[in-house]
Each structure stands twice: as C-alpha cells, then as structure tokens.
Symmetry: C2
C-alpha cells in the first residue's frame, strides 16, 4: 500500500478489514484488460422518470405480520404486530413503510378534514383543534426510536433457533417525527397546576388509552406528530396525528390521537391494568414501568444467516430510553472478552445508533453478543441477571443481551446465551 | 395562562403564536359538552396489518417530471428531472420515493448480482468488486443533501408567478446514505501518490462520467453508497451503487456507478466541457465549479399558496456545501428588516436544516425572503448582487435569495425580488 495512505488507512481500524480479505475483489491482470473491462457496452435508454421512485424488482424487503409470540405465518386478520426487517436494513433510520406496526384493532381509515383533537379535563380553556390548526402551530422535528414494550418477548422462556433478528427484535424502529410540542398545547389550554397526569386516547376501534405522568421530561419532550420522515404520517403509524413520547413504551405513543385529558391521578384504563403491567417473579404486578431500557442487538451476522471464515463485519443497532448510547461492546467469544465497537455519528438521544466492528472469524464454533451502555451509565444486562431480577412470568421490557451462536459450518442461530 | 407556564411558554418565541391566534381551536363551552365530545363512538375494526405501510388515500403527494426550464406537463419520456414537493414536506428528511430525480438517459434496470465496480488507472492493484463484496466492507452512514447544479434555474432571467417552490427549488433533497468510504477503497487498490484526479462513470445508457479532484476533503468524505434511508438504493437513485459526494454538484454523485479510474489530470468528458460549465457574463466558461453554495428557501408560505391575516408560521429549509448552516434570517418586509429564525436541531454538515419563525401578517401586500449563512461565513446573496457577478448566460449554481410576494388577498407569488 502506498506511503501516503499507509499511515492514514492501515494504522486504523480498517487494517483488519484490508488485510483479512474484506475486499476480496478480483485482481485485474494488466492495464490492457482493465481498459477492456472499462469499455462501455451500448445500452438502451432506461425507464422514464416518475412521480415516485419505487423499489428495484431485485429488492425483496418487507415486514412480517405476526400473531402472539410463537405464532407466525398467520392470516393478516389475526396479526397483532408487523415487524421491521432489521436484518435487511443499514444505517440508523427505518424506511417509513417498514416502521414496525402494533395495533389492537387494525388500522383505521381516518379523514383528516373530519378528525379533531380534544384537550380537556383540568384545564382553564378546553379546546378542540383541527389537523390544519395543529399544522399551523410552532413545530419541531426529532429523530427517535419507538419500541413496543413487548419487543424481545420471543426469548423470554426459550430460544427458537430458527428465529431471525426480525423475529426477535423487529418491534423497534427509528424515524424523524414532526409535530407540535406538548408544552405549547398545554400553554394554550391553560392546564391547571394541580394536574399531574394526562390521558391520551386513540381513535381506533379499540380506543387505546394510556395515563401519562406529566414529569418535566415528558412535558419538555413529548409532541403531537403529523409528520414522519418528511411526509404526513402513514395510516398504520397514526395518520393524521399521533403522540410521540421519546424514550417511553411504544403504546404510550398513542396513534390516531383523538383527545388529551388532564387530571391529578392515573385513569387506570384496561391498557394499564389488564395489559402492559409487568408480572414479576413474586407474583406482584409492576404498573407504569414506562421507560424503555438500554438495549442493543447485532443485526449481522444474525439468526439464520451463514458466514465464512475470515473477515466479517459485525454490525447492529443500539438504543436507550435514558438518552444517548455512550458505548457498545461486542464479544465474539461468548462474553469471555469484549471489544468496543465503532458508533456511527451523530449519536442522537433516544434514537437507534448503528455500531460496527471488524472481525476475522477463525472458523471455530463460537457465540457473538453485543452489550450497550447509555450516557447515564445504564448497562444492558446479561440474560441470567435479567431473568434473576424479573423472572419469567413477565412479557415486557426484555432488554437482555442477545446471543447468536455460530457453528462450524458458519450457520448463525438464536440461543439464550 | 397559569403561572407555572407563563414564564416557560409566554416569555419565549411562542408568545406570538399563542397570542396571535395560531391555535384558534374551538372553545368548549363547559365540562359537560367536553365529556360529550370525549365519548367514543362505536367503530369497526380497521384494516389488517400489512407487510408495508402505504400512504393514506387522503394524502396526494408526488414529484413532477419536467423537461428543460419552462417546459412542464411533458410526456414522461421527455422529462429530464422530477422535482421534490418541498411545499408539502416537513422536517429535514426527504421521503425516499420523493428524492428528486435527474437523469440523462432514464433509469436503468440493473441486476445487483451482475453489477461490478472496476477501480483502475494509476493504482498498483486494479480490482473489480461485486456489490456483495462492497456490502461486506467497513461502512458509514451519513445524512446529506444532494442538489442538482441546475436547481433554481427557473428564476435566472424571469420569474413565472405561477411557480411553486417545488418548481423553483425541487432539485434538492436530503437522505441518510450508507456505504463504503472512498478512502478505504483507495487503500485497497493502492492508488499511486501521483494520482490527483478520479473519473467516476455511471452504468446508464448516457454513461455519465465526471472528473473529480482528489482533495483531502473529498478523499475523507466521499463514499460508495448502497443504502438510502435504511434500505437498498432505489433504481432512480443509483441502484445498486452510487457515489456520494457531500456538498458537491449532484451530477458528481454518479448513479449506477460502474468504475472509478485514477489519473493525474481531468479527463475533460463531455459532461464537463459541453455540459455543466458555467457561461459567465464576459462570455468565458467556468469549469469544475463543483461545490454547491449556501442556499435557503421558504417553503411555507410559498408560490401559489394563500394565507390569512394574523398568525402564520414561516418555515423552510437551508443548506450549504461548505458545512453547517450557522444562521437563517427572514425578512417579512421585502428585505428592509431581518429577524433570525429558529433552526431545528441537530444541524448537520452538508444537510438540509429546517428553519421556522412566527409571524403575524397585517394583511398588507408585502414580500417575504430568507437568507442563510453557513459556518464558514458564506452569506446567501441577494439576486441583484448574484446576477451582477454571474450574468444571465449561466444556468447553474443559482443560490440567490428567493422572494415570495404576497398581495392583499393573501395570494403568494414567485417574483424576482
């Protein structure tokens, strides 16, 4: 390698990739054959320009509608969630049409001209807003992850070795959301100082409704969104408006938002009594465990993939409801030793962060694991510790380290640890 | 407004919005009627969950394929570009299928299994890479704008008052791109120290090819992308691979990239001699004016929109090929006075930044203008200064301040200044 690049390239993290055959490539014997390869064959003009740039016919990428844990390949009518194909994505953003879906009564078909947002309860000026009125207000845009509190439940009790990372972790996605700060709306309706809780209710047939504590953090960061990755929300993601609650349970990000009611205590809806409570080992239920914890998962290599000995790029995503990801460590020897991964910047608070590391696999069976640490010092727990603390009755907030086992043939499988 | 919000909300930039009727909303007479409004009407379950979240049938949003300046509503076959609907977008990101298109021979239908990238010329190890080999290499993701050097040409000589901001500025978009750093590839083929230029050629029927100077900035920042907003590139945007050149002319971001040749001087292709040269006032042509300058445009209110007296949120996007946007100023009185707009964070280098400002329109005819300044101190020029320096023979790198005139009826029109 030439002097002028040796220091810059080889002395850096790329050394391994450059020397372990990352870029096998095919050598070109001589300049003459290179020129031959360089010749441009005559070609016909391509397709006309269009109003929308659709996907290539060679790209097969979609979510998988699933029923309750373990029930895959069900009728769409039985599906309760549709998971993001993390194994086929790159970067930190999730394509708008592949953001995971989770609904309790399907996707309503709402007319934005008729939809309204009611704000009432412990306020001095109860108001009803049209969608156009909301769009005319001061707005903010923020890129954040939204995660179903059930993400990871596939691995609570056992590990199906045939699961992909889409199956195990496909209920988290990251989009840029745009809308009106909750704090601005609260100022307009003149919330009473004594109001410490807010009920957010959706306009779907299930009327999903959650009680949200009005902490300073939530009042500062929550917003009523009408935009997603630059365009209006998609129906499956709350069109025409949804609540966005950075860092908190997906089901608090109420889709098809129809009203916000203010009060001085939680409403104890069925969504926080019958559902979304955490049944602990001692049989007691934990309610209002709202924040999503520090998490990460290796998306490549991952479940059902096959790798070859030699250079492999290990990459994945990490996220935390506590703020920014500070560090991601990767073990390629079943947690005996750990190495720090590269984080792709900018690292945003409460958004997925892409991490990566070069690795030369020696061809021997092993296990690869990732472990994230956020800016508040929260470390993603190993499975033993997590289960010891939470038990196996629970269904939510699973953030244990994900282990992928690799056998001598290079086949990657989902295992518990 | 209650004590506990007065300081936090009213003393801030939202004061105007909160008092000028931003959030008209409809008052709810009393608690009883609020409860009535709150009642949830019985509803049928919604649509089944799906593999992809499509747009609402109520959302009409698309690009406009256009021919040369002034020729709109042409047959798709005659279109040479397809513009992003900036007037209908929010935030900083452009929806993947709405990223602007500009091509010289349509969109080729390439099979990623057969596509190759040849790297040759002044290198010690000429190599040919498959797309899978590139995807296995160290990668980076970066959110940047790509702008056609012809963006803005509609307003070079005259202003058609019926143009929208999609017509005048729709040839710039911002996506998250993922790929292999050029620097890593250069290290693999062992570029000779004497090579100071690189030829990038596309695999479309036109074989678009540009000579790129290997400055430190370009070697550090350019990359060969295979990912766009989390997924594989769309065919219209270079599938399976394209060159991404943050901050430089869109046509340098070679789509359908088939080879990179290294040399010690530019190749003087027809794309840099017959096309993409700037004909100056004195009749001389400026070649290799590669960097896109500091720019901004108000997207709302903008061409053909109609506004009402009272509160209006003024918003738009600003971008610069020199780095980050440092400041955006808005004039609502035809450039007599300027106010600083809010910038939505994080402000990224060489990416579009969303800006906004509250404004109470008094109902009198006026003109609104935006002016951006980047971190290197470059200020977006007013039209007079820009034309005085560049003349009207040129077609490229138009970054003069955009003026929207508003008449007594609230109708917004495109004017020169």
């Amino acid at each position: 390698m030439p002097e002028d690049y040796k220091d810059e390239v080889l002395s850096r993290r790329w050394f391994l990739a450059a020397t372990a055959g990352a870029a096998a490539g095919a050598a070109v014997s001589d300049a003459a054959s290179a020129d031959t390869l360089a010749d441009v064959p005559p070609r016909e003009p391509g397709a006309d320009l269009s109003g929308h740039s659709e996907r290539s016919r060679f790209v097969m990428i979609s979510r998988i509608p699933e029923a309750t844990p373990g029930r895959r390949n069900v009728d769409p009518g039985d599906a309760i969630n549709s998971k993001t194909p993390l194994d086929k994505l790159v970067g930190a953003l999730t394509p708008t049409d592949l953001h995971y879906e989770r609904s309790h009564a399907g996707v309503p078909d709402l007319d934005p001209a008729k939809h309204r947002l009611l704000m009432h309860g412990m306020v001095r000026k109860p108001l009803v807003f049209t969608v156009d009125e909301l769009k005319a207000m001061p707005s903010i845009s923020r890129t954040v992850f939204i995660e179903c509190t059930g993400n990871g439940w596939e691995n609570w009790k056992k590990a199906d070795e045939n699961l992909t990372v889409q199956n195990t972790h496909g209920l988290v996605s990251t989009n840029e959301w745009t809308g009106v700060p909750l704090k601005f709306l609260i100022g307009l309706v003149e919330k009473e100082a004594g109001s410490t809780w807010m009920l957010a209710e959706g306009d779907d047939a299930a009327g999903v409704a959650r009680s949200i504590p009005l902490t300073e953090e939530i009042v500062e960061e929550a917003f009523v969104a009408y935009g997603q990755n630059g365009e209006p929300l998609r129906p499956a993601h709350g069109f025409p408006i949804r609540l966005v609650m950075p860092g908190f349970e997906g089901n608090l990000n109420i889709k098809w938002l129809r009203r916000l009611k203010f009060g001085d205590q939680p409403w104890m809806t069925r969504w926080e009594t019958a559902r979304y409570t955490q049944l602990l080992a001692n049989g007691k239920a934990r309610q209002f465990q709202l924040r999503m914890d520090t998490n990460s998962v290796i998306t490549s290599p991952s479940g059902t993939m096959e790798i070859k000995p030699g250079y492999n790029r290990v990459t994945g995503v990490a996220w935390s409801g506590h703020g920014k990801i500070a560090k991601v460590e990767i073990s390629t020897d079943g947690t005996e030793t750990w190495s720090e991964a590269d984080l792709n910047g900018p690292v945003l608070s409460k958004a997925q962060t892409r991490f990566g590391m070069d690795w030369a696999w020696d061809g021997k069976p092993t296990k690869i694991v990732s472990r994230s640490t956020d800016e508040q010092g929260n470390v993603q727990p190993d499975r033993k510790t997590f289960i010891a603390q939470t038990g196996t009755n629970a269904l939510f907030h699973y953030n244990a380290q994900q282990t992928w086992s690799i056998d001598a043939t290079g086949r990657v499988r989902n295992v518990l640890s």
